[in-house]
Symmetry: C2
């Protein structure tokens, strides 16, 4: 087959309407992985995706059942002895609540001003779909791909990728590849692509504080009983010191200090403070002293309070001392912090800090390693060329503040380079109300993926990337 | 008419079954005054109560409409030149949530082991009903009361009594009386009655902290933006110092210091620490150093965090920085604190303490004066005799930690003594799940009220209580 991408690109360009309509179908599933009541919707979304992969010409399509939500696997391996590209994405989404803040319903995808609004439009169904439509375009235009491809799409990224991670450990030969590509990050703006070469790790925590046997009258008992909600607030307030640093003994021990060269590279290519604060719609910044907002969200760790429940929080008033209170927190970790060690020192900290008049329970989950890739790796450089051709300008290399749990596993377990090729925009409001995908990015993302298949195939062919030994294909 | 109470008591004793069944009817209304969606139920409860007062022979029964929930007024004034007793109670309740903690549904009153379980069984429908059934018993037995009686029952006690308070100010002649009785407090145990001679005042607050324009992804922004929920926790944590004192400048300026005599009286009659903590189902106490639990809940002020909302508090996880967070708080105030002054210094404190990276909004409502009555007042001594005859033992004089907003208004605006004659028990779980009324207390409460009408009438007749000038009756 030819490695000229033009026929595939021309197929893609003549099918924008169909692609958009199919993406809307994909977005209609409320595949909220964290919500037990949405489990059937997550499953239905996986089946839809698997069928769709079959329809576009992918082979060995499998729905892999797990203890949680299913994995969707597909491959095309007709290019004998050609390298293998592993494409990862996730079809699950975070909950759409608060619904009243959406201008149009989150699961009724709507186009306004070249933007497609829906939960998951950017994170990650829209970006995942760029690759699916690229595969379709090449397969339809050439009846073959320029290299072998494996797709693994999961339904648990937003809750820690637990089952995919154990699948990778147990069945590493199934996903063995030469390079992996993940599109779940963002560009600088619609004309300035970006390749993410670093991701923060993570750890999720739920801290419960229990006090009286049941809710009490605040008149009768107020002043004589330690209020578990008040005790929780005190614990939470103590997690940061006056300088914006995380106040857990030993927390910063393994945080890597970066050279002046690296920090000045970041300064040069990364977003300015004002820009990050504008995106957040805040006037004033906040955080660890001595670092820019970009640094605070990438090379420095963070501890975020995601939510609290306890007492009477609804309308009206109720004079009570709550019986218990719970906080949800998430750590974002950086090289060389180990989430398991952070879990241990956080447990020790809570054990020390919990007042004796209440009981504290800490539940930890989803430990995720921070990851870091070499910017000058040929796999990342090939992505740079693909971007430049599709978007008309070369990408910058950025660090991301978020966590993609699987990226670290691909790097460590499969021992392959991982290219984080994002098509999101800073104002796409992922995880928030009115999430969107900028449609020109969706279409250029497809072309970037088409070009990348050719470029990475060539780079490996020319020996620029060393190949791992290929094992026999795993069969369900 | 005779002032011998035995015929009335005998009527009451032969009607226990009917009284219980009527109380159950009264308790079936979910008259949750704080819940806008329950407004119709509150109204229906008021109508039921008004009709019931008419049925038992009370005159001039009126449903007084307000901007909020209606007042129920009734009187019997056929005893010319006799003194007037004002009976107050409230037919509204606090919300029954969390429903799953109730053993039987809160609005399906159920008897188990001599206890009647329902929201409002003790606070305050059950106690209010003691007086209603006492009036019925005397009217049925004698066709007349030993003195004139006015009843005022409100539907907004749990939300600050705002409309009753302004009604008292505007129409003080309507409620003019010689003495007021309120049954909305508790005894020491089923055999040891108590008269409350002090109530804490109060002030309710809602503190909202706003940060980013909308919910943000905690990976993308975590560490660079001040989290409003975290800022709120820090503010809340700062409201108490290490010694359990409220950390608002000037807060203790007007708190009255009590003599050793008074504190030793309290020590002698009041509940021990262990007893209060057992009622709260906690092992360890907490609070302002140097005071017993009884003192901490009566002669010392308190600031209680009633609830927090903000971020993702439901099931599952969601890595967000919330856009805003809100806390509900209630102050309990003591002599000689003025709720209006506390409101002012609290506003000033929040203005100083609110970090510049977020916006703080404080909403204050329901300022309530603390009240204090002389233990040796003849109106309280008459109540003591009534209790002794009905319960078989003399009551102790206790302070209450809660607030009955109207008690202060009766004292200050109507200028009459107020007798807080409680029939609740410490384990009645008012405001909590499985609230109950101990039925022997309900029946003895009725007899106490029957006897009190005679005793107070005599005390006033003998000139023990000075009478205010009677004005003409107000007509709706």
């Amino acid at each position: 087959m030819t490695k000229n991408p033009h026929r595939a690109i021309s197929y893609a360009r003549s099918h924008h309407a169909e692609f958009l309509s199919e993406l809307k179908e994909f977005l209609r599933f409320p595949s909220e992985s964290s919500e037990p009541k949405r489990a059937a919707d997550v499953g239905a979304c996986a089946i839809w995706l698997a069928r769709h992969l079959q329809k576009i010409g992918m082979r060995r399509v499998r729905l892999i059942r797990t203890q949680g939500h299913p994995l969707v696997y597909a491959s095309w391996q007709q290019a004998s002895r050609a390298p293998v590209l592993l494409i990862y994405g996730h079809y699950d989404v975070v909950p759409a609540a608060p619904l009243e803040q959406w201008e149009t319903p989150p699961y009724r995808p709507t186009v306004r001003n070249q933007n497609l609004y829906a939960r998951g439009a950017c994170d990650d169904k829209g970006q995942l779909f760029c690759h699916v439509k690229a595969l379709e375009s090449v397969l339809r235009a050439h009846r073959a791909l320029p290299l072998n491809v494996k797709c693994i799409f999961e339904g648990e990224e937003e809750i820690g990728s637990c089952h995919l991670l154990s699948f990778i450990e147990k069945h590493r030969e199934v996903l063995r590849a030469d390079v992996a590509v993940i599109s779940d990050t963002k560009m600088l703006d619609a004309r300035r692509p970006a390749i993410s070469y670093a991701q923060r790790g993570g750890l999720r925590a739920e801290l419960e504080v229990r006090g009286p046997g049941q809710e009490l009258h605040s008149g009768t008992f107020g002043g004589a009983v330690l209020n578990p909600l008040q005790a929780l607030c005190k614990l939470l307030a103590g997690f940061h010191d006056e300088r914006g640093r995380i106040n857990i003994p030993g927390f910063y021990d393994d945080v890597r200090n970066w050279s002046d060269e690296e920090r000045s590279y970041m300064q040069q290519v990364g977003p300015a403070d004002r820009r990050i604060l504008d995106e957040a719609q805040v006037e004033h910044g906040w955080g660890e002293q001595g670092y820019t907002a970009y640094e605070r969200t990438t090379i420095r760790p963070a501890l975020t309070l995601n939510g609290i429940s306890g007492g009477h929080a609804g309308k009206g008033v109720k004079g009570v001392v709550p019986a218990k209170a719970t906080a949800k927190l998430s750590f974002r970790l950086v090289p060389d912090q180990d989430p398991q060690r952070i879990a241990r020192i956080f447990r020790e900290h809570i054990a020390r800090a919990c007042p004796s008049a209440v009981q504290c329970t800490l539940r930890l989950q989803a430990p995720t390693m921070p990851v870091l890739f070499e910017r000058d790796h040929p796999a990342l450089q090939a992505a740079s060329i693909a971007y430049e051709k599709a978007f008309g300008s070369a990408p910058v290399f950025l660090r991301s503040g978020g966590s993609i749990p699987v990226a670290g596993a691909f790097q460590k377990v499969l021992n392959i380079p991982v290219v984080l090729m994002g098509f999101g925009l800073p104002d796409d409001r992922i995880h928030g109300p009115n999430e969107k995908m900028h449609l020109p990015n969706f279409y250029r993302g497809i072309e970037t993926s088409i070009r990348y298949m050719n470029l990475i195939s060539e780079a490996i062919h020319h020996g620029n990337i060393s190949r791992p030994v290929e094992a026999s294909e795993w069969v369900t």
